[in-house]
Every structure is written in C-alpha cells, then in structure tokens.
C-alpha cells in the first residue's frame, strides 16, 4: 500500500539523518579558544510562579556576575518537559546543571545523563528524588511549619479568642516538600493544644483557597486561625474571611508561606497576618556558588551528609518587617 511505503521512506530518511548527524562532530563540545567561558544551565520548575521567577533572577545574575554563559529552560510543570528540556541543556554542552525539578522522582534519567558527561548537578529546593545529585539546597520547610504554628498561637492569643480550632490549607500531597509544611504545622499546633478541624487541599489554586475557607467558616464558625501552604491560597483565604465580615488579622489570623508579592501587599494593608519567607533569590545565588565549587573540584560541606542537603533558614514576615521586603521588590 502506498502509505506504508511512505512510512518506510520516512523511517529511512530519519535513520539516515541521525546517522549523518552522528558523523558530524558536535561543535558545542569542542573548545574554540583557549579560555572558554563556562556554561551554566538552569532548569526551572515553572516560570509562572513568582517564587521561581525570583529564583531564576538570583541564579541568572549570579551566573553572569561570575562570568558564565547562562541558559534557561522552563519545565512548565510537566515531568516529560522537565526531562526533555533538561536534556536539551545537557546537549548544549553545559558545564554545570542547576535544577529545581517539577518531579523529583523523575530526575533519574537527568542525573544519569549529566553524570555520563561529568556535569555536576545542583538541586535547588523541591527535592532530589533519591538520585545521585551532588548537592541540594533546600528551605527548611519543616522549620517553617513550626514557625507558623508558634506565631499563629501567639496571634490567636492576641485576638482574645478562646477557641482552640484551626484550619490547615495544604498543597497537593504530591509536592512532597511543600506538603511537609502543613505536616509539621499540624503536629506543632496540636502540641500547643489546638485542634485541626479542617485539613483541605487547595491544590495551590487561589480560587480554591477562597472557596475552601468559606466552607471551613460554614462548618466551623468558631475557627480561630488558618495556615496555608502557600501565599496565593492564603490571600484567597484572607479574602474569604474579609467577605464574611471578619479580619484576617484581628479575628481569624491567616499565615501563609513563600513571601510572594501579593502576600506582602496583603500584610501591609492588614488583610493577612504573616507569612514565612523563603529566599529563592538567595538560593539561586547559592546554587551558582556551589556549582562553581563543584566545577573546581572542591569538596562541599553539608548540613546533612547523608542526603547531601544544605539548609536555608526561613524567616517569619509580619507587619513589623514587611516594609524591608517590599522595598526590594
């Protein structure tokens, strides 16, 4: 049949193309001048989020300041894109790979491919998936959850509310590291004598933060405080509280996570109580620094030797110190 013949022809053409390509020496790998600029590749989770935009900015500026060539790919919240796009980076002859992986478990092929070429792998946040990366820079999410719980306890006592009920809006359980925030929050807040009356998944969607909070207010009108896994949902929850006539600071304090721009604005205007700040920009800089050390063959000092983790402290942001952050935005 004619069409099958064409299928064969197409196959043959593609085989021929790959063979021909294989015979031509890939120029990117060969040094053209004696002092070749080193190239750093950064594979980012998803540039749609302020958190990762800040991380990317920090990475890019540090790489350029160090005199490296810098290439970026966006995983666009898809693991197949993560794998194929990061492979694109490797194929362009990078000397070090920095990655904030959308799906840590799927990092296997990436790390294998990088190792085959002797490219050091620095992971920025999210997780390492149990693979053989060289180092992972990770926000102390668990500490952040505890911080939020302690602060929420303080805020609730400040409102004079005697209710011991709190709500916890979570991220998707598949985002294992972010999930840790609520797990540690809920553990700590229970230690402080509170009851977690609702633990609901907002899937990181702002509209869900709003509608979930409304449902919580219906089911538990005496809820005293809320912790949200990230800021977009926290802002949504704060608005839900405002729409029911109460304040997200004075009546039912809302604590978020990330220190995104909208949360900072919400804290400043008094609709939300606090957030836990991660420092993606600094983390980006740190990873470039670590990449440099690895490219020079230095040995790294870890906070956790077994998992090769380097922890980044988180900071509580309240109306008192929010201005310092807003100025740098």
């Amino acid at each position: 049949m004619a069409r099958k013949n064409w299928l064969f022809v197409l196959m043959a053409a593609l085989i021929a193309a790959t063979l021909v390509a294989g015979c031509t020496a890939p120029p990117a790998q060969q040094a053209q001048q004696p002092a070749k600029k080193k190239k750093i590749g950064f594979s980012v989770f998803d540039m749609q989020y302020g958190f990762f935009q800040d991380m990317e900015k920090g990475t890019k500026e540090a790489a350029q300041a160090a005199g490296y060539d810098y290439v970026l790919v966006d995983e666009k919240s898809s693991e197949s894109t993560m794998v194929s796009a990061t492979q694109d980076l490797i194929n362009q002859g990078i000397d070090a790979l920095i990655i904030s992986p959308f799906s840590p478990p799927a990092m296997g092929p990436i790390v294998d491919a990088a190792k085959k070429k002797g490219i050091p792998v620095v992971v920025n946040d999210i997780g390492g998936g149990g693979t053989a990366y060289d180092v992972i820079v990770i926000s102390n999410n668990a500490e952040g959850g505890v911080m939020a719980a302690d602060h929420l306890d303080k805020l609730i006592k400040g409102t004079g509310n005697t209710s011991k009920k709190v709500a916890s809006i979570t991220c998707d359980p598949q985002h294992v590291y972010a999930w840790r925030r609520n797990v540690s929050f809920e553990k700590r807040i229970k230690e402080l004598g509170y009851e977690v009356v609702a633990s609901l998944n907002g899937k990181s969607q702002q509209e869900l933060g709003y509608s979930l909070m409304k449902d919580v207010l219906s089911a538990h009108p005496d809820v005293a405080g809320v912790f949200s896994c990230n800021d977009p949902m926290a802002v949504g929850a704060a608005q839900a509280i405002a729409d029911s006539g109460k304040s997200g600071v004075k009546d039912i304090p809302v604590v978020g996570f990330n220190a995104d721009e909208i949360a900072l604005k919400a804290i400043k205007e008094g609709s939300m109580a606090a957030t836990v700040q991660q420092v993606p920009y600094e983390m980006g800089k740190m990873t470039v620094d670590l990449a440099t050390k690895l490219m020079n063959g230095e040995k790294l000092k870890y906070d956790d030797d077994k998992e090769r983790e380097i922890w980044v402290p988180v900071k509580l942001i309240t109306p008192e110190n929010v201005d310092t952050l807003l100025k740098t935005q």
């Binding site: 193309a17 970026l72 194929s84 362009q92 478990p105």
Partner: protein
C-alpha cells in the same frame, strides 16, 4: 473513490489531486522541511544527541496517538488516556520493582486493557456518549489512582527496564523504534484487516455500516480496548523514561494526543485518516518544543508560538477547502454558461 474523470467526462480540477496529496503527506512534508530549516538555522539541532532527544520525546505521545487515531477514524475519542497512562505507569513501576521487567510490561498492558474494556462497555453497552464516558472515567481513574497510591510516587530503575525508555538501538532511541513498530502495526490493521475496514465504515456513517451488517456496538467497544493497549505501551515507555511514575503524571496528555492525531490529518468527524500523519505530527510537536528551547525562546512566548503553530497548521486544510469550493463553483458556472 476518486476517478480520473468526473461523470461529465471532464478532467477533475487539479486542486483535488493536491488536496489528497496534502491530506496524506502534508504534515510529513512540513516535518521534513522544518528539520532541514532547523538543521541550517538552529545551533545544536543537527547533532545526534539532540535528534535522538527529539525522536525520543515524540514517542510517548506518539504511541498513544496510534490508538487514538483508530478511535478517531471510527468516529469517537477517548479523554481518559491521560489518567490511564498514569495508572498503568504506576502499575508497571510497582510491579517491576517487585517482580521484574516482564511483569512490569504485563502490568502496564493489563491496566490499559482493563480501562479500555470499561470505557468500551460504558460507550457501547450503557450508551453513554464517548465524550462523557471517557471524561467521567478520567476523573474516576485518576481518583482511583490517588487512593491506591496515597498520592505517592513510585520508582523503579532496573537497567533492562529503563533501557526501554532511555536506550538506543542502531542510533535510534528504543521508544522511537517501538513507536514506529506500533505505527506500522496500526497502519496494517487499518488497511489490511476486516477490523480496519469496519473502523472506517463506522466512522463514515455508523447507520449505514449497521445496515451493511457491521457489528457497530461490538466494534465501538473493541476500539476502546485498542486505545487501552496502546496507552498501556505508552505508559510503560514513559515510566521507563522517567525511572518512576506518580498519580497526575503528564497533565494534559490526552489533549496532546488528540492534537497530534488531528494535526496529522485525521479528521475528528471520522471516516478518514492514517498513521503516517500521526507519526509526523508527533515528531513535529517534539521538534517545535526542542527548537524553541535551543533558540532560548522566552518561556511565555513558547506557549503562544505552540498555539499559533497548531492553528496555522490546521487552517491550511480549511483554506484549501475554501479554495477548492471556489474553484468548483467557478467550474459549474462555466459548465452552465457554456
């Protein structure tokens, strides 16, 4: 179907030759041209490693698209392939880590077939429209996956397993070879078997097919099983590629699969189509993503470009139709006038 001369004995307009050529080979031609242009203009494109990456990436959507092509030709489609992919991939990974590679392959296929059977029953026996049945199954299967996994990912990295997704054979990526084999099998089924002929018949006119004795109900059910088989194969390949699987794997997979089939020239209404276009379209999508990355295109503009490319590629068919209509109208006027 097409005769050299029409009923009045006059030569058919030349556009109809081109129209058929375009429908069958258009996307393949676009693919070849785009590769040549990319090789010349895009740095690092024409390297072995890069081309292997492109072909490899194309294979996962591609294998599933083989099954979907058959479904669409028969006049239906399946929105649950994405969630089925995740479940089958998880089944493959978990089973593999317990019982080895052969078991992992069986597990992936069995899950794909099982979901296909359920879809087939819902559509053929219970008579729920395919869109709804498979949409509902999409939720049910992904919900089921969440429950049995507790939301956790699974990993399996035995060398023989991951080779299926990451290895190369004679310079070609293994998943791509499997993709081509699936496409050839699919094409053979479509053109050389009774099943294939009946698929086309049902897609063109289900009522007429029924009168002609085609067991429409049974066939519709079988089509979903076929989709399930190819989805299962795709799932095994994806899991092998990623050394892992998780619930919610590959969001939007089903839409990408349908887009590949339609871009390849198979009409959504059914009754016409083929595998060559599907293969070319799958590779074309992968090429587009790759080229945009190599050109360091801004991530936000990449979304815009990908959508525009889809629209432009599909408009060509529509514009061609309008041109043909205008020309045949002119011909009729000439006939009547003369």
């Amino acid at each position: 179907m097409t005769t050299a001369t029409d009923t009045a004995g006059q030569r058919r307009p030349r556009t109809r030759d081109w129209a058929l050529m375009w429908e069958k080979y258009g996307i393949s031609a676009v693919l070849v041209v785009s590769w040549i242009l990319a090789a010349l203009l895009v740095p690092n494109f024409a390297t072995l490693a890069n081309l292997q990456n492109v072909l490899r990436t194309a294979s996962f959507v591609g294998v599933a698209a083989v099954g979907m092509t058959i479904a669409i030709i028969s006049g239906t489609f399946d929105l649950s392939v994405g969630s089925t992919l995740a479940l089958a991939a998880i089944a493959a990974v978990w089973t593999g880590s317990q019982f080895g590679v052969i078991a992992s392959i069986l597990a992936g296929l069995i899950v794909g077939v099982a979901v296909g059977i359920i879809n087939g029953l819902l559509v053929a026996k219970v008579r729920i429209p395919a869109f709804i049945a498979t949409l509902g199954m999409m939720f049910v299967v992904s919900g089921f996956t969440l429950i049995v996994t507790g939301g956790n990912p699974f990993a399996y990295n035995a060398p023989s397993f991951i080779w299926m997704g990451n290895g190369d054979l004679l310079g070609l990526p293994v998943p791509f070879i499997i993709f081509l084999i699936c496409a050839l099998v699919g094409e053979g089924v479509l053109r050389r078997t009774v099943f294939g002929r009946q698929v086309f018949a049902i897609g063109s006119n289900a009522a007429a097919a029924k009168i002609a004795g085609v067991p429409v109900q049974r066939m519709t059910g079988l089509v979903f099983v076929v989709v399930g088989i190819f989805t299962g194969i795709a799932a095994i390949l994806v899991a092998a590629r990623l050394y892992s699987a998780r619930p919610g794997l590959e969001p939007g997979f089903e839409l990408r699969v349908i887009a590949a089939v339609v871009l390849g020239g198979t009409r959504l209404q059914g009754g016409r189509g083929g595998m060559l276009g599907t293969v070319a379209a799958a590779i074309l999508f992968a090429t587009l993503g790759n080229v945009l990355n190599l050109l360091h295109a801004d991530a936000f503009w990449q979304k815009v470009v990908e959508g525009l490319v889809l629209l432009v590629a599909l408009s060509i068919e529509g514009i061609r139709q309008r041109v043909e209509e205008r020309m045949s109208r002119q011909m009729h006027e000439v006939k009547e006038g003369g």
